[in-house]
Assembly symmetry: C2
Homo-oligomer: 192 residues x 2
DNA sequence: GATCCAATCTTGACAGTGTCCATTTATGTG
DNA sequence: CACATAAATGGACACTGTCAAGATTGGATC
């Protein structure tokens, strides 16, 4: 595919590399994805990526940001949709369900998002920081509407869905068990 | 240290390698620990480990098992101690607190325990399987005593402490926030 | 439109890694 | 004591991340 159209200047190499890497991420964890492999998939030399990413970690950061964007979009859509149909409680349950679903359906992307060796939470990327903030904001606001106003309780909800998603994505129990456990746990937390 | 005492046969190389690797695990994540580096730390050739571990993953499995043993011991001691002093509710809170504390104090070990590329939960190691079972058993039994009898609710408790521990270990919020959030979340889950 | 520049991409090189192979050394058992 | 076997060694290979130097290109400048 290289010699046919554009010999040297690709034009959208950064995008193409990210696309190729995201595709690989569906099949194998980020730790097993090599830069050279991604370059090969994009049909460029093994050093071309260095003109668009500072590092191997640079590419992984981009993957984490993309993945976080998708995770956030899934949660936001679920929350908004359920709040329109039902109420804040339904919105909260739908958001958690979407969060867990993403973790199970894209375990490697999910892991990449929260890998501290890729994005240090203390000093996150300029792209990543607002995404995390928005996720927290959505959860916090929805939790407050549903009657869980304190910071601790919003954090507990995040922890609950995150833990169940992580454990389930790692294969410790089936998806429906994680979903059911979240519904049970969150419901019990809400004021009766 | 090699030439001084034992030239060839180490005697306890497997142990020594695991010890060295566990020490490295305190400083860097498992992904950044190389087999050759561990061999160097144990003062043997880069190929010596292959006589005691099938693979790089073999050593990581051993690290995960050891770490899980420590995590389990911490939780068990906390639960037993608190059940003696207080009641099942105190035991449950103490167990979760110990779980989170381990995650924060030994983030790399904690991550190694739950790394699905090291120990596949569907087919865990002979050593790992009973450890996971015991952890679940302790949590399930304590939760039941505290009034959370169903499988879903025990799973939710595990997910809650696991998620808060994971997020906190990754640096997403300080330790006391995670501890407070667990107490708040678990207390809310318990029947009032 | 010709010329130069900076960005892009390439090839080449180096050290480090996981793992296979053949070889050397030590241990324990007959 | 001899000898099979386990334990450790050194060498080799392919692969990786990354640095350095050269080739190619598109676009701004005159």
């Amino acid at each position: 595919m290289s010699s046919s159209r554009e010999a040297y200047h690709h034009g959208r190499l950064a995008q193409a590399l990210e696309d190729a890497a995201m595709q690989l991420l569906e099949r194998k964890p980020a730790a097993e994805i090599s830069l050279r492999e991604v370059a090969r998939a994009a049909d460029v030399s093994h050093n071309a990526p260095y003109h668009h990413f500072t590092d191997r970690r640079g590419l992984l950061k981009a993957l984490a940001e993309r993945s976080m964007g998708e995770l956030l979009a899934g949660v936001r859509d679920a929350v908004d949709g359920a709040r329109a149909d039902g109420g804040p409680v339904e919105a909260l349950l739908a958001g958690g369900s979407a969060y867990i679903r993403f973790a199970v359906e894209h375990p490697n992307a999910f892991t990449a998002v929260y890998d501290p060796t890729v994005c240090i939470p203390g000093a996150p990327t300029e792209t990543m920081a607002p995404l995390i903030d928005e996720l927290e904001a959505i959860l916090g606001a929805t939790a407050a509407e549903a009657g869980l106003g304190s910071e601790n309780e919003a954090l507990a909800l995040w922890g609950l869905m995150h833990g169940l998603g992580t454990l389930c994505a790692a294969g410790h129990f089936p998806t429906d068990a994680a979903q059911a456990a979240f519904t049970a746990g969150a419901t019990r937390m809400l004021p009766s």
